[in-house]
Homo-oligomer: 252 residues x 2
């Protein structure tokens, strides 16, 4: 199963991606978490002790050349070999508490350019990775909509859009859904986050008619990092995990 977590900046994508990764790992899945946002820090959020040692996917260029003789621009050829998760070299991932983590790209120098090449490599990787039944890939996408222009997540089984109870977050959800359909992504669901009241829940449901809601995560009054998330939050993400499994029928 391949899942991408998307949404407006600040809605809680990394919170959901990290808790889902933990819950999948605890329930016996082999989890590959991919941090696709250069301004996120999924590694720290998951408690990885030495996140700075992870070599980013962008550096796989050299690996691809070495193994296939093709240059990075022709990366798709390498990935058409349909690697399995176990084939991914240790060097480009770290494992901690049952979660294997890859990061898309390091922070570049100011003026160092965009993240287009990294997104191209990541798309090829996600598209061609063959998963076993008990394996799941969870992508923490960059904020906003540009990754959809780049079609980075087009091969996922489920695109989760995180929304908080604000008009702006709802607008972004509509934009993401429309753009996702352009790239053939139909399987989209919504998760509400930062909910303080029943009326905020109703605001989201009435603002997004026809959308599939996987769950509603309560507001974290203590503003704790996800690694210390409170019990009500973890309980709700467990429900979201169950909803996700039933909605995509345990397929890989």
């Amino acid at each position: 199963m391949k899942v991408a977590v998307s949404g407006k900046g600040g809605v809680g994508k990394t919170l959901l991606a990290s808790l889902l990764s933990r819950i999948f790992a605890e329930s016996g899945y082999s989890v590959l978490a991919i941090d696709a946002d250069p301004d996120a820090n999924l590694a720290a959020t998951l408690g990885f002790p030495h996140p700075e040692k992870i070599i980013p996917i962008s550096e796989m260029k050299s690996l691809i050349e070495e193994r296939t003789g093709t240059r990075a621009g022709q990366a798709a050829a390498y990935f058409k070999l349909n690697p399995k998760v176990d084939d991914l070299p240790e060097k480009y991932s770290q494992e901690y508490k049952g979660i294997r983590l890859m990061v898309m790209g390091q922070i570049k120098k100011g003026g160092g350019g965009c993240y287009c090449p990294e997104n191209t490599l990541l798309q090829a990787l996600v598209s061609h990775l063959l998963l076993a039944r008990n394996e799941v890939v969870i992508l923490d996408m960059e904020a906003g909509i540009e990754h959809l222009g780049r079609a980075t997540a087009k091969a996922v089984d489920k695109l989760i859009v995180v929304v908080e109870p604000s008009r702006r977050a709802v607008e972004t959800a509509y934009r993401i859904t429309k753009l996702a359909q352009d790239i053939g992504l139909q399987n989209i669901a919504v998760v509400g986050n930062k909910l303080r009241s029943q009326s905020e829940r109703e605001f989201l449901i009435s603002s997004l008619p026809g959308f599939e809601f996987l769950g509603f995560i309560p507001y974290d009054l203590n503003n704790l990092p996800p690694v210390d998330a409170s019990q009500p939050i973890i309980t709700e993400v467990r429900n979201i995990h169950q909803a996700l499994l039933s909605t995509i029928g345990h397929q890989t």
Copy 2:
């Protein structure tokens, strides 16, 4: 004066950019506001009646070709003519309540590509635009750090980083500052937003030692859109406007 508003997604960049635009306009400045985030909606936030009619900067390609005979990739040549704000064609901007608005790019189709060409055009425009003493350009940047890789805002007089009282927002502020220095942007200041208490204010001050704080905007309990911002918020943005004027000494 050219100002860019940056920060992690969801911290309130569009709130600050829109209120600053209004306050500059009310105090007699000629304001050019530029929405540089394809997932933002500065036009709607400023109350523009027909935002969908604004032709984005990305479409200036045709204008550049028409006037100079060069293609979009060579746009810099056009902008080296150092246009004044009044030279910018009406077609690419709308005016409402003393604010002229330009938008960087429309939402593309999913899979339609990245926003690199738009950022290149915008950078050239901001760099070469000659401003009179009473003119101000306010850029609402995209969430996160990629625009710094692209150096979109490298010609501004002041880069404002908006932070909310959270570790993640503070981390992004450090990343932005480091990247901004790579592109020669030294004049950086911070605005705190969504403050609920004195202790949150102290958290920000102690987390960002040595940073220049222009002000601290209180949390909006009613979650109102910026156009209906409450009086305490507007009062604080007026103070930020004053701090901005004194910090960059009214220069253009």
